[in-house]
Structures are given as structure tokens and as C-alpha cells.
């Protein structure tokens, strides 16, 4: 394996460069996936049937808490990658752990929110609006959940094998994924919650 030392570790081999590029293409497909879910939501947002509307359901505190958790985690993973580029394994691992804890916090609030909705009689079966809402939020939440496992695996690998081209590449790709989930959340925040509360 040829290692090009003039490039950052995560880009230093041919295989690494291919993987990063491939992951960008995958994110393109993910954009198409979430775009479809958003389109579905916009089509069905007024299809509330006999169930509650968004205005009735959405609460500011849980929304703000989730947003703060996720946006901060996007910042800390950025710091983690920065630390990785500086070659500081310890700082990088700490930032990754903080990121995952924030992600876990986000997920906890989201689950709490879902439970609240169900208590108010708003289930995924109640109306088309709620089906599309739960599916959109749930798909995002499932991505975060998967990310928690994936991130944990990467932390374990970096810890055991150190910062080598292979592990750095995985960590970098994971950070792209995590930032992407943050971008999706910004759209959810604006076009689902804010629009729904206005």
C-alpha cells in the first residue's frame, strides 16, 4: 500500500481516497432519500384526519434541546477531526466520545418526545400526517442510532490500533455522515417544526 505523506492521513492511500469519494456519492443518494421523505411529508401534512395537527403537538423545549444536542455534536466531531489531523489521538477520542454522548442525548429526547405524542393519542396509525411525521423523524433517528454504534466501533478501533491511514479514514467518513445528519436536522427544524408551529 503506497502512503502519500503530503496528504492528511485519511487521504493518504488510493483506497482511502476512493472510499471518501464513494461516501460522498452515497451521501448524494441519502439526500435523494430524505428529499423523498420530505416530499411525502409536505404532501400529507394537511392530511390530519381526526388526529392532532402539528401546531397542537410540537413543543419548544424538546425541540430546542434536541437542536442544541445535535448541533453541538456536529461541532465537537469537527474538533475531533481537527485533533486527528494534529495527530493527537487522546484529544480526538475525547471529542468523539463527547459527540456520541450528545448524540445519545438527542436520541433520548427524541424517544421521550415520541412517547409524549403517543400519550396524546398521536400514533403512527392515527393519520397520514402522523405517519409521515414519525417516518421522517424516525428515519433520521434511526440514522443517529446507527451512527452511535458505528462511532463506538471507530473509537474502539482507534484506541486499539492507533491513528493509521485505515482508522483515520473511517473516522473521517464517520464525521461526514454525522455532519450530514446535522444538515438533515436543520431542514427538519425549519420545515417541520418551525413551519408547523407558525
Amino acid at each position: 500500500m503506497k502512503i502519500d505523506n503530503s496528504l492528511p492521513l485519511e487521504y493518504s492511500t488510493e483506497e482511502n481516497r476512493l472510499k471518501i469519494f464513494g461516501f460522498w456519492i452515497f451521501l448524494g443518494a441519502e439526500i435523494a432519500l430524505f428529499a423523498t421523505l420530505f416530499a411525502t411529508y409536505f404532501v400529507l401534512v394537511n392530511g390530519t384526519g381526526n388526529g392532532p395537527t402539528g401546531e397542537h403537538l410540537f413543543k419548544v423545549p424538546t425541540l430546542m434541546l434536541q437542536t442544541i444536542f445535535l448541533l453541538t455534536s456536529s461541532f465537537t466531531i469537527g474538533l475531533g477531526i481537527n485533533a486527528m489531523r494534529l495527530g493527537s489521538k487522546k484529544a480526538m477520542l475525547s471529542f468523539f466520545v463527547i459527540t456520541l454522548i450528545l448524540g445519545l442525548g438527542f436520541l433520548g429526547v427524541e424517544i421521550y418526545e415520541f412517547v409524549e405524542y403517543v400519550h396524546e393519542g398521536a400514533t403512527i396509525q392515527t393519520s397520514a400526517f402522523l405517519s409521515s411525521l414519525f417516518t421522517l423523524l424516525g428515519t433520521h433517528g434511526a440514522h443517529v442510532t446507527l451512527g452511535l454504534f458505528w462511532g463506538t466501533f471507530i473509537i474502539l478501533q482507534v484506541k486499539k490500533r492507533g491513528l493509521i491511514p485505515e482508522t483515520a479514514n473511517k473516522a473521517f467518513i464517520f464525521s461526514l455522515y454525522w455532519h450530514f445528519l446535522d444538515v438533515v436536522w436543520i431542514f427538519i427544524f425549519s420545515f417541520v417544526y418551525l413551519k408547523g408551529m407558525m
Binding site: 500500500m1 481516497r17 476512493l18 472510499k19 469519494f21 464513494g22 456519492i25 452515497f26 448524494g28 443518494a29 441519502e30 435523494a32 432519500l33 423523498t36 421523505l37 411525502t40 404532501v43 400529507l44 394537511n46 392530511g47 390530519t48 384526519g49 381526526n50 388526529g51 403512527i124 396509525q125 392515527t126 393519520s127 397520514a128 400526517f129 402522523l130 405517519s131 409521515s132 417516518t135 454504534f149 458505528w150 466501533f153 471507530i154 474502539l156 478501533q157 473511517k170
Partner: protein
């Protein structure tokens, strides 16, 4: 025993029981055969665990041929049923199941894998690469497709076939109107295969954009590679829509959500829109590679370089863009108003422009060429006029107001068979014959090939041309029978006769494979067709590393230049080559996907959860695995090269 009742076929007939027995016996014969010839180890080492793009390609093509015969059997049954008025061969329910599976199998499990198979074998060779960008992912793609196809195919003997059409429109496909698990099979089997296809899309975009031979810039790529690049972009942006649509369908059917329901705010129209937002690009996914195949073959056998290279590329890009903005033409009659219909009418007709450009480019390539009438060339030449007929009737259908007359008639059925058969099926048959010597080291018999060509081409027209007439006369599609007074009888009988001719043509192809495997000469050159692109520059059979030395390129036809103008293709010296290791995990993970899918179809939640955990365990295993591949040493390469050179 109540637990097992769910697996019973809800609407059985002697034919289905006979197929059950036949499937059981075939599977038993395969297992006994492999055991008897002690081939399990070989099968596992050389095929089930392979990550070699050439072998994966061959497996794709084999599965596609298998599915061609499954879909073909469905087709013959439909034509037999409608051959005479008031026929009682099949009842309405069976007819519904058969046209549904015919559509799904032919599009998703025959046309697509056939195309993907050829693309697997040819694309890395054409760009001068040693394999695809992610060989292991490629194996995952294949096995997911394969397991999806198998899951779909067992539906008619376990639990019942889907019966709501290949478009599976709601509310027809909802639990209220489709009570059997058939539509669950549809949603989940296609989902599994679709994930595989999406991964293929990513893999080939990276391969083509990042792994081309030195000197091959984008505008020096062979036309087939261009068509594959564009196709894979369509795959990456269209397939997620299908993923979502099928997921919503699954949730509506299994978990009682309200996406496509008639009450509580749901919208059945949403399904039609989502389906065709994927579905229309999908038809270009199967037609653009066909255009690429024809471009290669026509230029090879006209002995001329391809006319209008730049306009070919631009028109393919234009077609791929337009393919995303025409979807509503599939349901003009659903009533979305004159404005919407008008816009979609215009975008649809606009597709005829770039397609017309391509037709003229092929004609100009032929102009003054020294045409050699080989089997691949015959298919390509037949394609041009027949496909044009399909295209022109497409423009007729594009006119929204006129479409109210044609909609849902046999005219539409004739139209899309006139584009898909000379378009995709002729192309894959041509490409299959053309690249066969590269894959297997001997040629298919030209004589038998020409017989099957004429059988297929003539019978195709005999089968489908009458449908234009009965369709304009008002014969609705998907009707299992009609009365004698309609007068559709004679033309439908003609279609049936044509269908038998088609069956003979395809049987001849199988006979050709058998005959040529036994008797064809193994003593062929690396470049038996005197072709123009890089896949012919390496040995036959192709060594696993494709090229001992990576070729250098400076024109669209570097290999041709190396033959005719003394261009030096292989400048460097032999170095050790890095290759990926085989792995059984893609196969095992896909088997678990099969179990997961089966459990989901029948709502067996505990098994589904265990299978889900199994799938994640495979992914976790991949994350922790240390697999650095292996190196082939210079001595080993030189030994292989000398052996291959000596064999000539």
C-alpha cells in the same frame, strides 16, 4: 399446524402444485449433483465468495437468463390465455398474478441484472482498471439482488404471488384489496434487490470517475462506459425514491400506517407519483446501457469510428436529466388538470430530440462503412427501425389529450414492448454474443445465432404489432379474457403464434450455448471481432488482474490505434499487483437478508428481529475486520502472462 397455514397458496391450481413439485425436484437434483461431483468446495471458493468483477458479472448474467425464462413462461401463459375469446385456461386471479410477476421479473430481475452483468464484466476492462473500486461491495450487490429475486420467485408457491400489477397501485395493493401476502413479497423482495442496485450505482461511479487508465479523460472514454456512468448516476438518484416508496408500502401493509389509504388523510395518488418518479428513470437505466452496447457494436462492425461522439454524450446526459421530469405522463388520466398534463406532455416529447440525435449518429456511422453482418450487428441493425417505431408511438402516447384514448389499452403494451425488446433485450443479446468470447474463450455459433436472431425479430413483430391495432380498437390491457363479439380474437391468436416463435428463438439461444460449449473452437485470438476498445487488448481468458501493465491511452480508440497506427498501449514495466481477498460474508449476509425478508413477508417478528441482528453483526464484523488484500508477485504475473501468450 395452524402456524403453517399461512404458507399455503390462497388460490391454488394443479399447475401451481406441479411447479412446487418441479421446484422441489430441481433443488434436490442440484444439491445431489453438486455433492456427487464433489463441487461444493469449488463452488464456495471460486464463485460464492468471489469478489472478481468478471465472475460476478457472469453470475449476474446467469441469473438474468434464468429469470428470462421465468418471465417468458409467464408471457406464454398470458398469450395462450388470450389467444381465443372466453378462454378458460387461467382464471382472473391467476392472470393477475402472472402479468404482475411477468412485469417485475422482466424489468427488475432480467433486464437490470443482464445490463449490470455486462457492465460488471466490461466496464473495468474498458477503463483499464484491475477491478471495480469496491470489489467486496460488488459481491454484496450481486448477492442482495440474487436473494431479492429468489424471495420474489418463491411467492407463487409459498403464500401467494403479488397480483396488483408491476406498478402495484394503491388502493388495489392495500390490505383491503390484496389480502394475501403477495404484495408483501413485492415490497420486500424488490427492496432487498434495490439496495444491491444502489450499491452498484455508487461502486461504478467511483470506478469510472477515479480508476481510468492514464490519459483517458472523460471525453476519451468508450461510449459504453459513458452510458454506464450516466446510468449509474440515474441509479443513485432514482433508487432511493423506490426505497422510500416500498418502505411506506411495507408500513401501510404491515404496521397500519396511513400513507396511501383512502381515509385519515392518506393519498393513493402519492404512491403513483413516488413509483413513477423512480419508474421512469428506471426505463432509462435499462435503455442507456443498451445505447452504449449498440454504439460499440455498430462502430466495430461498420469498421468506422463512432459518428458524433460529443453529441452522443450530450444527448445521453440530456436524456438522463429529462428522465426525471416526465413521470406524470404515466397517469395523465388521473386528472391533475390541463396545466400539469401540458407540461409533462412537452417534457416527454422533448426526449425524442436527443434520442433522434443518437439514431442519426448510428446511421451516419453505418454510412459508407464496410458492414460485417455478424449476429451482434444484426441485432443492432434490427434495433434501429423497430425501436424508432416504439419511439414514435411513444410520442403519440405523450400527447396528453390523445392519451385518454390509448391509456391502459394494448396500444400501450405494444409501445413499451417495442422500446424495451429491441432496445434492451436485443442489446443484451447482442452484447452477450459480442463479449462472450472475452468471457469464455470461444465464440458462439454464428449460424445458430442467426437462426435465433431471425426467429426472435420476426416473431417479435408478429407478437406485438397486432396489439397496436387491438389497442386502438379498445382492447384493455390486463383483462384476462374478452368476448367473441369484440372481434379481438384473430389478432390475439396471431400474437400467440408470435409468442411461440419468440420462445423458439430463445430456446435456440440456449441450444447455441450448449452446442458452442461442446464444439466451438478454443483457438481464438484475443480480439476475434477486430474491435476497438481496451477490453480486447488483454488476454483471453482474462487473467484475474485484467492487465499486467496498466495501459496508457491518448484517444477514444487507443486499442485500434495500437493495432493500426503502432500506438504503444503498454508502456510501463510489470510491477506487483494488489488484489482484494475473497470473502464469504457478502453471501452469508445476503442469505440472512433472505431470511429477514421471508420473516417480514409473513409477519414473523421474532425471526425478523434475529435476522436484523444478524445483518448488523455482519456489518460490525466488516468494521473490525483487518483485510489488507494480497499481492501478486512479478514472477507470478510473468508466469501467467507467458502461459497465456503461449496458448495462442
Amino acid at each position: 399446524m395452524d402456524y403453517f397455514d399461512r404458507f399455503a397458496v390462497p388460490h391454488p391450481s394443479p399447475a401451481i402444485y406441479a411447479s412446487m413439485v418441479a421446484i422441489g425436484l430441481t433443488m434436490l437434483a442440484v444439491v445431489v449433483g453438486i455433492t456427487y461431483f464433489k463441487k461444493w468446495g469449488y463452488l464456495w471458493r471460486e464463485w460464492l465468495t468471489t469478489v472478481d468483477h468478471k465472475r460476478i458479472g457472469i453470475m449476474y448474467i446467469l441469473s438474468a437468463l434464468l429469470m428470462l425464462f421465468r418471465g417468458g413462461a409467464d408471457a406464454i401463459m398470458m398469450r395462450a390465455q388470450t389467444a381465443v375469446p372466453d378462454n378458460g385456461l387461467l382464471d382472473g386471479q391467476h392472470y393477475n398474478e402472472i402479468f404482475t410477476t411477468h412485469g417485475v421479473v422482466m424489468i427488475l430481475f432480467m433486464a437490470m441484472p443482464f445490463i449490470i452483468g455486462l457492465m460488471n464484466i466490461v466496464t473495468p476492462l474498458q477503463v483499464g482498471a484491475r477491478d471495480v473500486a469496491f470489489p467486496r461491495l460488488n459481491a454484496v450487490s450481486f448477492w442482495l439482488f440474487f436473494m431479492g429475486a429468489m424471495l420474489f420467485n418463491i411467492s407463487f408457491v409459498v403464500g401467494g404471488s403479488p397480483d396488483a400489477g408491476w406498478t402495484s397501485y394503491f388502493p388495489l395493493a392495500s390490505n383491503d384489496f390484496s389480502e394475501s401476502v403477495g404484495s408483501n413479497y413485492y415490497a420486500i423482495a424488490i427492496q432487498i434487490a434495490g439496495i444491491g442496485t444502489l450499491l452498484t450505482g455508487i461502486n461504478f461511479i467511483v470506478t469510472i470517475l477515479k480508476m481510468r487508465a492514464p490519459g483517458m479523460n472523460l471525453m476519451k472514454m468508450p461510449m459504453f462506459t459513458w452510458s454506464i456512468l450516466i446510468t449509474n448516476f440515474i441509479i443513485v438518484f432514482a433508487f432511493p425514491v423506490l426505497t422510500v416508496a416500498l418502505a411506506l408500502m411495507t408500513m401501510d401493509r404491515l404496521f397500519g400506517t396511513q400513507f396511501f389509504t383512502m381515509a385519515n388523510g392518506g393519498s393513493d395518488m402519492l404512491w403513483a407519483n413516488l413509483f413513477w418518479v423512480w419508474g421512469h428513470p428506471e426505463v432509462y437505466i435499462v435503455i442507456l446501457p443498451a445505447f452504449g452496447i449498440y454504439s460499440e457494436i455498430i462502430s466495430t462492425f461498420a469498421r468506422r469510428n463512432l459518428y458524433g461522439y460529443n453529441s452522443m454524450v450530450i444527448s445521453m446526459v440530456a436524456i438522463s436529466t429529462l428522465s426525471f421530469v416526465v413521470w406524470a405522463h404515466h397517469f395523465y388520466t388521473m386528472g391533475h388538470g390541463a396545466m400539469v398534463n401540458g407540461i409533462f406532455s412537452i417534457t416527454t416529447m422533448a426526449i425524442a430530440v436527443p434520442t433522434g440525435v443518437k439514431i442519426f449518429n448510428w446511421l451516419f456511422t453505418l454510412w459508407k462503412g464496410k458492414i460485417v453482418f455478424t449476429v451482434p450487428m444484426l441485432y443492432s441493425l434490427a434495433f434501429i427501425p423497430i425501436f424508432t417505431l416504439g419511439g414514435v408511438t411513444g410520442v403519440m402516447l405523450a400527447m396528453a389529450s390523445a392519451d385518454y384514448q390509448y391509456h391502459n389499452t394494448m396500444f400501450l403494451v405494444a409501445h413499451f414492448h417495442y422500446v424495451l425488446i429491441p432496445g434492451t433485450v436485443f442489446a443484451v443479446l447482442a452484447g452477450f454474443t459480442y463479449w462472450w468470447p472475452k468471457m469464455f474463450g470461444f465464440m458462439l455459433s454464428e449460424k445458430i445465432g442467426k437462426w435465433s436472431f431471425w426467429f426472435i425479430t420476426i416473431s417479435f413483430n408478429v407478437t406485438f404489432f397486432p396489439m397496436f391495432i387491438t389497442g386502438l380498437d379498445g382492447q384493455a390491457r390486463r383483462m384476462y379474457t374478452y368476448s367473441e363479439s369484440t372481434g379481438y380474437g384473430p389478432l390475439n391468436m396471431l400474437s400467440f403464434v408470435g409468442a411461440i416463435g419468440l420462445a423458439i428463438g430463445f430456446a435456440l439461444i440456449v441450444y447455441n450455448i450448449y452446442w458452442s460449449t461442446r464444439y466451438a473452437s478454443r483457438n481464438i485470438s484475443n480480439d476475434p471481432w477486430d474491435a476497438r476498445s481496451l477490453e480486447w487488448a488483454t488476454h483471453t481468458p482474462i487473467p484475474e488482474y485484467n492487465f499486467a501493465i496498466v495501459p496508457t491511452v491518448d484517444s477514444t480508440e487507443a486499442f485500434w490505434d495500437s493495432k493500426k497506427k503502432g500506438f504503444k498501449l503498454f508502456g510501463g514495466k510489470v510491477e506487483k499487483i494488489h488484489m482484494p481477498n475473497n470473502s464469504g460474508v457478502p453471501f452469508i449476509m445476503s442469505c440472512i437478508f433472505f431470511v429477514w425478508g421471508f420473516a417480514m413477508v409473513f409477519s414473523m417478528w421474532i425471526i425478523a428481529i434475529i435476522a436484523t441482528l444478524g445483518i448488523f453483526a455482519c456489518m460490525a464484523h466488516r468494521s473490525f475486520e483487518k483485510d489488507h488484500g494480497r499481492y501478486i508477485s512479478v514472477e507470478e504475473i510473468e508466469e501467467t502472462e507467458n502461459k497465456l501468450r503461449g496458448a495462442k
